[in-house]
Symmetry: C3
Subunit: 214 residues, 3 copies
């Protein structure tokens, strides 16, 4: 029964990630094909890269065409209905937070099941959670969200690390997944709500600036 729930989580993550990709297409005023490409790449991109790195080939959506069909339908629906939310940018960020938290734990779990070491599993959670969005930002011509000063990959890292820690400690899978998801979502949500950010690098005073510095 939990497997059904976990599968539902996985589908929800793909739907919301696809939506964030399609909303970037709406901000760029693309046509419906652009929505489909950006939406699908965002929805299944992170899991695809995880599967390639782990060698779990063919990637997950080759043997299960309903993933692709879902991404296409969600992208087209976003093309038709994106005018409903009045503030699309806030919606984009909140959808993104939910999808990110889900993918961080499910991605880490898939890596553990494939036999990866704990630290590699945490990295795979971060990859699954953030690389779909990174592809979206690169294709959409925007600076990747995970490299901006917001707390984003940090939240995925915390959630994946909590899940992996609980998992190797023998805690029930359901509790581990839920805990990791809630931690990642809470950190990202709080960062969005209160504009948290990590301190950024600052060059020290007295340094000789080179011609490329800024």
């Amino acid at each position: 029964m939990f497997d059904t729930f976990a599968a539902a989580l996985d589908w929800f993550g793909i739907v919301v990630f696809t939506t964030t990709g399609a909303l970037v297409a709406s901000r760029k005023q693309m046509d419906v094909v652009g929505f489909i490409l950006l939406g699908t790449a965002t929805g299944i991109g992170g899991g695809t890269i995880r599967d390639v790195l782990l060698g779990a080939l063919p990637v997950f959506w080759v043997g299960e065409p309903s993933y692709l069909v879902t991404c296409v339908l969600v992208s087209v629906a976003t093309f038709l209905l994106a005018h409903i939310p009045q503030s699309r940018y806030a919606l984009l960020l909140w959808c993104d937070a939910i999808g990110m938290a889900l993918f961080a734990v499910t991605g880490a779990e898939k890596a553990l099941l494939a036999g990866a070491a704990p630290v590699v599993a945490v990295a795979m959670g971060v990859v699954t959670a953030t690389f779909g969005g990174m592809i979206r930002d690169i294709l959409g011509g925007e600076s990747p969200v995970i490299l901006r000063r917001e707390i984003y990959a940090t939240a995925a890292l915390a959630g994946a690390a909590l899940f992996v820690t609980l998992s190797v400690s023998g805690i029930a899978r359901e509790i581990g997944l839920a805990s990791g998801f809630c931690l990642a979502a809470a950190i990202r949500g709080a960062a969005l709500r209160w504009n948290w950010s990590l301190p950024r690098y600052r060059s020290r005073p007295g340094r000789v600036m080179d011609d490329r510095g800024d």
Copy 2:
């Protein structure tokens, strides 16, 4: 005998795609190494991503060095001879259309032969046809052509879908490949000739604009 013809098609596609990549290098006034890298990435990039996603590893050009050699030779030839065509941009677009149509059907066929479901095979046709160009545009610092408002991925999608439909219907492979190729090339050619484009997304009047909207 048709296999020989299909192989010739495949080579032709790689040559014209390599040329489009090298012509982007000429517009950016790169050196010969830039021509080779952009040309080769464009020529074999789409098929490489297809092979990785399908798990057909090592990718097709690892076991067949003549692909790499061809890409390098075509790139160098373009470096030396790109001044001949007077209007390089139009040439770029027409070469691109032919390569795209070829790769859409041959990419879908390779996926079908690898056992992919029809809808996945169509997607693999689109990937094979468009991702070489997408890599070219990202590396060349241009907005990816498949996300601009032109009819491009749409044509690849139509050709791949027609081929896959005919193929699963039991129609002779030669007819399927030729039909899919002609449909994709015709749609793209007509779009180039008459400046066809799909309607793009427009935000509805009365919407509250957020600070990132444009």
Copy 3:
């Protein structure tokens, strides 16, 4: 014993490449997570793409977590200590030259050991040496260094080609690796020192300019 030395070379390459990625993060004034992502992607990106193309999956760092741990530690150290070098851009370029030369020969060797043909092995050396930096530049929003007019991929190509030539000629592996490394490093170093560059493409006089030409 040479295997120990070769492994040490490999680690050194990863450390210096990670540093170049983290130094790009410092120029962009990212936070520590940005340092880790850019540093790690640069440090292991080239070898990761090589392994995927060769089908040597899972990629090398999945089974050996110390690679990831090293990349993270080096990135964090760079976040804390990047102010020490007064001229970071020059340091970046010299670190990059050493890492590039190392990866060109070790990448080509891994491809040969995986059974690749010589010309493919040379290409894999170039991929290993240059694609980490290409990922770094794309993620960091800079024009990829290997497409600029500097001698960069050329040096990797020369080093990998020399190593592969010596290797298939039956020369001792130690001599081949050292020779290829020195050649690549010498060419890149000389190019940095004397601002060498290859002639770039120039459009011929009298050519009708199209509207996209520059």
